[in-house]
């Protein structure tokens, strides 16, 4: 089968989505994943963006979450106050996509600073809506490249909470939901009963050693860990011909 790692990530993310989900989408791979899902197993998927567009149906890949193709043909456009208040905080959204510069073993995400907040080594963009997405949707999906730098045991700054210091830590804060899966270019990881990340499936050509080397702590593997299903011909065709013809997000030559 001919596909890139990025295409595999997109398809793996698409398979996490159900037909009746309302999804807070992000730009790039999450947007592609939602569109793949919508055109295969989840035609009724409702795509919502931080910019307040509800039920977007973009005709071309949006380059930002405020792109005009997300507004045209959507079912509603809410002012930001309303979309965060009535839709996100009130619990009307099922799934949210997140990324970040650092993700730790409990799925906490840092998109604020590397180093000290007041004297940062690297200043990152900040939360945007990520903190609220992490707190208010039922399932967060994290799509990110896999490297030891990106996967430290503990993040420098918690921008968006995962399982905090374990599932109980999250419950004590009064937060439901939490990270469901971390989809990387090497594997699909999930979270155990205590809220710690483990490897659930390796991508078809990945070795255990590669994942170990690219993770900043001794990440456990499920006893019966599997292999990620390869994209189908139709999924690859959708991405290449319709959704990302220029290969902006799926790094094709």
């Amino acid at each position: 089968m001919n596909y890139t790692n990025s295409e595999l990530m997109v398809v793996a993310a698409a398979r996490e989505l159900d037909n009746d989900d309302s999804v807070l989408v992000g730009i790039g791979k999450p947007n592609l994943a939602c569109n793949v899902a919508k055109r295969t197993h989840a035609p009724d998927l409702r795509m919502v963006y931080e910019s307040g567009t509800i039920g977007s149906n973009p005709s071309s890949p949006p380059l930002s979450i405020g792109d005009p193709v997300l507004a045209s043909g959507s079912v509603s456009i809410e002012p930001m106050r309303n979309s965060f208040n009535y839709h996100l905080q009130a619990g009307r959204l099922d799934v949210g996509f997140l990324g970040g510069a650092q993700i730790d073993k409990y799925g906490n995400i840092n998109s604020t600073v590397i180093g000290d907040y007041d004297d940062p080594t690297v200043r990152l963009p900040g939360s945007g809506g990520a903190c609220e997405i992490a707190g208010h949707v039922d399932r967060t999906l994290i799509v990110t490249p896999h490297s030891a730098r990106r996967f430290p045991e503990a993040v420098d700054f918690v921008t968006s909470p995962g399982y905090v210091d374990g599932r109980r830590g999250r419950e004590e804060l009064g937060l439901s939901g939490g990270p469901e899966a971390v989809i990387t270019d090497l594997a699909v990881c999930r979270f155990d009963d205590g809220g710690e990340m483990y490897v659930d499936a390796l991508h078809p050509t990945t070795t255990r050693e590669e994942v170990r080397a690219a993770t900043g702590w001794e990440i456990p593997f499920a006893d019966d860990y599997g292999r990620t299903s390869e994209p189908t011909d139709e999924e690859v065709r959708l991405i290449r011909e319709e959704l990302d013809p220029d290969g902006l997000y799926t790094d094709r030559e």
């Binding site: 730009i27 931080e50 910019s51 307040g52 567009t53 949006p62 380059l63 930002s64 979450i65 405020g66 792109d67 005009p68 997300l70 507004a71 045209s72 456009i77 809410e78 002012p79 930001m80 106050r81 965060f84 208040n85 996100l88 905080q89 906490n108 604020t112 907040y117 007041d118 940062p120 080594t121 690297v122 200043r123 990152l124 963009p125 900040g126 939360s127 945007g128 809506g129 990520a130 903190c131 609220e132 992490a134 707190g135 208010h136 700054f157 918690v158 921008t159 968006s160 909470p161 905090v164 999250r170 804060l173 009064g174 937060l175």
Partner: protein, 298 residues
Amino acid sequence: MRDAIGHGVSDGDSVCLAGFTHLIPFAAGHEIIRQEKRDLELIRATPDLVYDQLIAAGCARKATFSWAGNPGVGSLPAFRRAVEDGVPTELELEEYTHFGLIAALDAGASNLPFAPLRGFIGSDLPDHNDNIARIESPFDDDDVYAVAPIEPDVAVVRAQRADETGNAHLWGIQGEVKIAALAAETVVLAVEEICTERTIRSDPNRTVVTSDDVDYVVHDPYGSHPSYAQGYYGRDNDAYIEWAEVASDADRVEAWLDEWVYGVENRREYIEKLGVDRLLELEPDRDYATPVDMGAYR
């Protein structure tokens, strides 16, 4: 625009150039740079290129924000230089989440001492912002976060069209335009087209701000470029990508400002310099909304 910025914005002011990717007031930002305003507090959920340009030009002392990046492209080089290295000036940060900042503007717009929200829970952000506090519900044992009101000295908001008094129609992504205008002391409204009051009154559901709240109305076609105005022109993505390269080098930033801001008299010259080919490339096909029947009642 020259008069509106000249009279409306003073050194030291807190300024909100509103908009979420859509209808960003670039022309106003460039006019602020040309008039060499200093020590500004720049407020907006999503400071993007225009704030990066204001920071690079030395206009800013503080950024109040929730996501500082170049949408769809990457980071803001001038913002990062200011925060990481204090170049060209130190930049104080007051940082929120999107919902936190919008709620703070809403408190300002609503004349409330704070706004409650279920945000920030589990985040390290409240440790670094004194205007975020955890409060108990007066009615049960639930607790939430509160944010203090934000009331900008000046808001610049854009819309597609307005009548001469400042009743404005906006369609497409609305962002925080309305609450920014309601929260601010002085409001500059810039529009693609001036229309009749009759046009406004034909479709009152589309009105985002009314003349009572507007101090300056500016007819400012293409004033959002390289951002976009739904139905008028698209986002000039090449300009966003180009800024990422230009802004990575402080010397190139100076040259860029000399060419595109200081080197032009006003927005009209900027647009002429940009050229008709580029504008035509950004023009969308027409796609009208179905008219609604408001009915004629007597």
